[in-house]
């Protein structure tokens, strides 16, 4: 039997959802659904001078949704009190006149799902988790006298959701974990620089094992930044690490193909379906069902079962990712990408795990092809521009590539800008591996949801500054 570990109040409300849906439908809502959503978690911060164990700000609430294909009316109630939810279901639709609309019957969806994991964070004590963080921090902190602090940050996100509509009765427990190592160094003149690395995934503590080499890489990265230069702005050949490749996918054909943006006429991609948007080496997908990735889930916040979406196939844009509203309005098939930050916010079309598919080259072959260029590492941020198809991605640093070899010369920070089709068209080699990295994605500057992005190494041309 699947052990969902549902919060007690949520588990107690679940059997009443059929009746609550009936209340909504009897008030002539063409479609009615209920989502119970609980998100809580734990953060542990251990550094040279302090330790903190704190709860991640929890959210828990019930969303009643009534939809007539024109407007989605929602009542979001904090908590899972059956009386409050039933009362809200009776009251909130009063006075609303729905447009008449008959939705196509949806397939029956039933099931309880739990993230596969070996070391369930909920089975470990806080003391054990703290000790594990201390151990990683201890291994890093004395590696160089220029280190002023090493901070290890562990985050555990426990998500529970129950979704019900006339054809669905679904529940899931999604467990996500991540751990950052941040190494802060100081030069004799007082300049402070830092480097970081992260491990993340949907799963348990088995995701968070650090080798000594990985820890040393972060220390070396921070120390190298003490001598970093600013790059001369201009167009460069570059190789992106999977982390940077993923953010390029995310900002270009991730945000750019969220179909709520099509509806708002904010996405240029809407005019490019089945058209060439990149080199034939480019394939991009979004897949919430990808096992172990940080952005994975079993069903979205609108009860759509997780499945992959092939967004770009061999350079041709195929389809976008949807929420229920935009799929209905645009009359296109739904994908499992209707997500909300928490119960207090609406659903939008959002990414899950977005990535470039692997190619056939080896990294060594790709580096050897670059006479003068940059090896770009550690993406620190990105911003979408679906209408203008611009890209802004900021990398923490990049190494010079000269004569087919990576040198010790470091530039930081480095901003990548460009016009999406030109950047994708410039890709001339794609490596044969796939690595994913977790993070948080906003819609604009809000509506934060956990996602992953990744891919292989890419060889491309773009403007750096």
């Amino acid at each position: 039997m699947t052990d969902l570990k549902l919060p007690i109040a949520m588990a107690e409300l679940r059997p009443a959802l059929g009746e609550i849906i009936g209340l909504g439908l009897r008030q002539r809502a063409p479609y009615f659904s209920v989502l119970l959503s609980s998100r809580h978690g734990l953060s542990i911060v251990v550094d040279n001078r302090e330790e903190r164990v704190t709860e991640r700000p929890p959210t828990a609430g019930t969303v009643l949704s009534a939809f007539d294909a024109a407007t989605n009316f929602e009542r979001a109630i904090g908590g899972f009190n059956p009386q409050e939810v039933q009362s809200a279901a009776r009251d909130f639709l009063q006075g609303i006149s729905f447009q008449k609309f008959i939705f196509e019957a949806e397939p029956e969806r039933r099931g309880d799902f739990v993230t596969a994991m070996q070391l369930d964070p909920l089975e470990l004590s806080t003391q054990e988790k703290l000790d594990r963080c201390r151990e990683v921090q201890r291994r890093a902190k004395s590696r160089d006298p220029r280190i002023v602090n090493v901070r290890v940050i562990y985050n555990e996100l426990n998500e529970h959701a129950v979704f019900a509509d006339p054809s669905a009765d679904l529940a899931q427990r999604v467990q996500r974990v991540n751990m950052f190592i941040l190494v802060i160094v100081s030069s004799p003149t007082g300049d402070v620089r830092y480097d970081f690395d992260v491990k993340s995934g949907s799963g348990g503590w088995e995701v968070l094992n650090w080798s000594d080499e990985e820890i040393q890489d972060v220390v070396d990265g921070a120390l190298a930044l003490l001598n970093a230069e600013r790059i001369e702005p201009g167009e460069y050949r570059m190789i992106t690490t999977p982390n940077v490749s993923g953010v390029l996918a995310h900002e270009s054909f991730g945000h750019g193909v969220e179909t709520d943006m099509f509806l708002k006429e904010r996405a240029r991609a809407a005019h490019f379906i089945d058209k060439v948007v990149g080199s034939a080496l480019v394939s991009i997908a979004d897949d919430p069902s990808q096992p172990g990735s940080y952005g994975s889930y079993f069903f979205d916040d609108e009860g759509q079962i997780a499945a992959p979406t092939q967004i770009v196939e061999n350079g041709v844009f195929r389809r976008g990712i949807t929420d229920r509203y935009s799929a209905t309005a645009l009359e296109i098939p739904r994908s499992a990408n209707g997500r909300r930050q928490d119960y207090s916010r609406k659903t939008y079309a959002r990414m899950s795990n977005t990535f470039f598919s692997p190619g056939n080259s080896t990294l060594e072959e790709m580096i050897a092809q670059v006479d003068h260029g940059i090896f770009l590492d550690k993406c620190s941020s990105g911003m979408e521009d679906p209408q203008g198809w611009g890209i802004q991605v900021t990398c923490h640093y990049g190494h010079e590539i000269k004569g087919g070899k990576i040198t010790e010369r470091v530039f930081a920070p480095i901003g990548i800008t460009g016009y999406v089709p030109e950047v994708l068209q410039s890709i001339t080699a794609v490596s044969n591996e796939l690595q994913m990295e977790g993070g948080t994605c906003g819609k604009g500057h809000k509506e934060q949801v956990p996602v992953a992005s990744g891919g292989p190494h890419l060889l491309l041309t773009a403007r750096l500054g």
Binding site: L263, E265, R266
Partner: protein, 440 residues
């Protein structure tokens, strides 16, 4: 339930201190797409946040302090939550620190009475107001918009005797404008956060955005530029205060937490700049008392009263913004959260700051300097090159530099403005910034 929690905490003799916050929120959200109202939402929330302190000791036996926290929804098990928080507090051994005691709280205006009365109606009205304001301009249309209104009530009680309440409102607006001229299309996207509808100044805000939307139809990619760059109004406010995600360089480096962690190299009484200051001197207040400031409050999450703290005076660090915890660690006064950023008026009229030639950046894609090093390379969404009496619009290109170096060579306008979490000069002329050319 708050009383029950307080009574339960008072009975614990294993705690060195505790704080409880009862937070209730209610709000309304309206979302529009070009075809009509996409979604209407009414949202309620209520929870109790407990923080506890517990005496612990280090491995060497030195007295230390541990902290833990827990959240409860109405009806949750109070004793279990307190046990959990107490257990966690017993696991860590940090330097000794305490909780703030009672103090007079300033009466900071934080609420919009209309929103308090009927958030749903006000949000629908704001949406209609935006639609009507845009409709006056036939070349431009409202593509999408979101209006959020929220009323938040906080009641904080701690073991040292603080018993304080505050109510605040907040409005968040997003709007997308589309312009079209022949085959040319343009889009502007904007976000505004204020505590009152009146402070949105929707008519003026939309007039500005309409102009940008129309001008960007003629925008081209910029050539490389090194020289004066002017920021005004919201663009300057974003430059100064950052955003919820990227943070702010000044807030990061002026925080006691960053100092304690070794992240901030700033030292009390020393210049915050690493080189020569060639522009106007920098003075900054961290101001939580600012009427209707979007990060104002009467008290912060620890219960520290709102203050207006001079953080930087004439280029020198005067105070770190310090929570009680980090104030105790560093043995400095506790100021509470940073809040809004306030700068004094400059000495130069805006008209003089606009001496040609210069580049004016109206909107960044996302101004996200590294909050620790201050380095930035940020895409420009829209701006103007102003020379020979012509304002030539451009989009693209990157503004490149270092945040503190930029502030070391800036002139501030005499005119001031209020932009949510920023009060200060309405315009700034950065004398020497670099723009990397955009793509044609």
């Amino acid at each position: 339930m708050l009383n029950q929690i307080v009574e339960a905490l008072k009975k614990r003799n294993d705690l060195a201190g505790w704080t409880v916050r009862h937070v209730r929120t209610r709000g309304a959200q309206v979302y529009a797409v070009p075809q009509g109202i996409e979604s209407q939402r009414v949202v309620d929330g209520e929870r109790y946040l407990i923080d506890v302190l517990r005496n612990t000791s280090t491995a060497e036996g030195t007295p230390a302090m541990g902290s833990g926290d827990a959240s409860l929804l109405p009806g949750d098990d109070i004793e279990h939550a307190i046990d959990q928080a107490t257990l966690v507090a017993g696991l860590v051994a940090n330097p000794m620190h305490g909780l703030p005691g009672p103090a007079a709280l300033p009466d900071v205006p934080l609420s919009d009475p209309a929103l308090q009365k009927d958030a749903s109606r006000v949000m629908r009205d704001v949406m209609e107001h935006m639609r009507a304001a845009v409709a006056k301009h036939p070349q431009v249309r409202l593509g999408a918009a979101e209006c959020f209104g929220e009323i938040r009530n906080t009641h904080l009680i701690n073991s040292r005797g603080i018993d304080a309440k505050q109510e605040s409102t907040q409005i968040d607006i997003e709007l997308v404008l589309h312009g079209r001229k022949g085959a040319q299309e343009s889009e502007t996207f904007d976000e505004l956060r204020r505590r009152r509808v009146v402070d949105l100044d929707l008519e003026a805000a939309i007039e500005d955005r309409v102009k940008s939307t129309l001008d960007s139809l003629d925008a081209t990619a910029p050539a490389s530029w090194q020289g004066p760059v002017v920021l005004r109004d919201e663009a300057l406010a974003i430059f100064m205060t950052g955003d919820d995600i990227g943070g702010s360089v000044i807030r990061t480096l002026a925080s006691a937490e960053s100092k304690y962690a070794g992240i901030s190299p700033w030292e009390m009484g020393k210049p915050v700049f690493r080189g020569e200051v060639r522009g106007d001197p920098l003075t900054v207040w961290a101001n939580r008392c600012l009427p209707f400031g979007s990060t104002s409050d009467r008290f912060d999450t620890e219960g520290l009263p709102a203050q207006r703290i001079e953080v930087i005076r004439e280029n020198a660090l005067i105070a770190f913004a310090a929570s009680q915890r980090y104030a105790d660690y560093l043995q400095i006064p506790a100021t509470g959260a940073f809040g809004n950023m306030e700068l004094p008026p400059g000495k130069t009229p805006t008209s003089e700051l606009l001496a040609e030639p210069y580049v004016e950046i109206v909107q960044f894609s996302w101004f996200n300097p590294d909050p620790i090093t201050g380095d930035f390379a940020t895409e420009i969404r829209f701006g103007y090159l102003v020379q020979n009496g012509v304002r030539k619009p451009f989009k693209g290109g990157q503004l490149i530099g270092n945040y503190m170096d930029a502030l070391a060579n800036v002139r501030w306008s005499a005119e001031t403005g209020f932009f949510g979490s920023y009060l200060g000069p309405q315009a700034a002329r950065f004398n020497e910034l670099k723009i990397a050319a955009g793509e044609e």
